[in-house]
Amino acid sequence: MYRSQKLALKYLTAAIVLFGVMTVAGLLTSIYYIRSDFLLNVLNFNTAKILHIDTLIIWILMGFLGSIYWFLPLEMEREVAGIGLAEVLFWVFCAAVTIVAVVFIVVQYGGGNEFSLWFINQGRKYVEAPRWAAIGIALVLAVFIYNIIATSLKARRVTGITGVLIADMVPLFVLYFDAFAAPTDMSIDLFWWWWLVHLWVEATWEILIACIMAWTLMHLLHSSRRIIENWLYVEVALVLGTGILGLGHHYFWIGTPSYWLAIGGFFSALEPLPLLGMVIHAIYDAGTQHMRVTNKPAFYWTLAEAFGNFIGAGVWGFMMTLPQINLFSHGTQWTVSHAHFAFWGAYACGVLAVLYLVLEQARGAEEMDGAAWKWSFALLNTGLFGMVGGLLVAGMAQAFYGRAIGGSTLSAFLSLQHQPWYTEGLWTRMIFGLVFAGGYVVLIFDLLNIGKRPAIARERVQQAAAS
């Protein structure tokens, strides 16, 4: 096993641990909606929420790093250049995440000054981590990019996949500089913030996961490189062709000119089209392989990725993206419903698929199957759908009563808290969150055990033969 692959296993382990933290924090946040004075002044909603959304970003990012550290040496047929540095930075990354989380929980808030931004909490969504930690993350990303480019140079090889990956890394890294900004003007702040958030999760991350899925499909289905590369370029063309100006769907209401309503709405409405292509492609692959894959969980999580992406990002997004609808749905639980579904379908399922593939290779398993992965697959997806469904009902109620009827005043907000559709939607979310958490527990059990038995059985046979 290459050193890079050993590092990959560390990153993937850390990713799954943070997935658990994210789930616990998520359950915590759901309680405040039921009881507003829960842990009041001890651990407020915003601290729990920060833990929830920041671990979301970090676990998926670590999943990406782990996946790429796993596949890159196989692609380049050599050890990753600068791997020693990357190994050190993994621990720096983990330490930074831990310290930041502890400070969030224990110190919580500083005064309205620069010191708070440097050492406690920057208070900008997803990038609340203080600047010192943001420097650490930037460093990790910089070394990661160096690893990819240097390995490619040393191997004197740039494959289609690595070419796309390297091209994607540059904007991904540059965009992260917005994590340090703190402009006074909120419109300017949000303008650049959306460059980071949208062009990460709806552009550069889409390309990243596409590269990872390209390698996954090559290993899982033994597809030819030429076919995979063709598909990868098509996806880049369509995703970036719609997604770059799809950024405009975040510029409807932040004080920017009104032409964004037309531009953002138009490109945003086109975004589901490539996602349908991906669903068809997934079915084609499933069908032509006659479902004869040896790694069942990896395959099913890949299917879940295609379908989840289409429904969560495509269907749910289209329901709320046109400006006339969005005027009322913007910033409600409807948004939360879409966000959970889209992140799940677009990224979480993909990382889980890769995780199972990596485990198969790491354990030398002949077959990856069993009951546990099916239970975790069922519980996680059921939990997620239930959460998303509850949030959609609550969100539509909020848009209907709080916004369209009530005009978004504080009084309308307070009346909303007693609307049955709203409250029951939020209870549903919490209950299905527990189902999801149950699925996570089974997932951990499965990840620890799957694929080990044939190896153990082989060992026993060898031992018996030897004695």
Binding site: L74, M218, H219, H222, S224, R225, R226, I227, N230, W231, A262, G265, F266, A269, L270, P272, L273, L276, G277, V279, I280, H281, I283, Y284, G287, T288, F310, I311, G314, V315, W316, F318, M319, M320, L322, Q324, I325, L327, F328, S329, M396, A399, F400, Y401, A404, I405
Partner: protein, 103 residues
């Protein structure tokens, strides 16, 4: 837009894309299995999507630009599954022999 129109319009828009997905799903599985009833179901879904499109045009207060976009999208969605499938078949047909040794 009235509150009722808000919910009604958004549900129609969601149904619009969902039916496109169902069309693609049934078309693909039907083509794989050579099952005519699934292909028929697929086109049935597209017809439903078209009816949803008509509902959006006639029953929602969305702007005319958006209605035109939705009609155009509906027609494009009709072509996506067959075009994608043909492209995939041609792609795999030409390069089926090219397996990469990745271990």
């Amino acid at each position: 837009m009235t509150p009722q129109a808000l919910i009604f319009s958004s549900l129609l828009l969601g149904a619009f894309v969902l039916l496109a997905g169902l069309y693609g799903l049934f078309y693909s599985i039907g083509t794989l299995r050579g099952a005519r009833y699934l292909i028929t179901a697929a086109y049935g879904c597209w017809v439903l999507q078209f009816l949803v499109t008509l509902s959006i045009i006639m029953l929602t207060p969305l702007g005319s630009g958006w209605k035109i976009l939705i009609v155009a999208s509906c027609l494009v969605y009709l072509r996506i599954p067959p075009v994608t499938w043909r492209h995939l078949r041609q792609l795999h047909g030409l390069h089926e022999g090219g397996r990469l040794n990745i271990r």
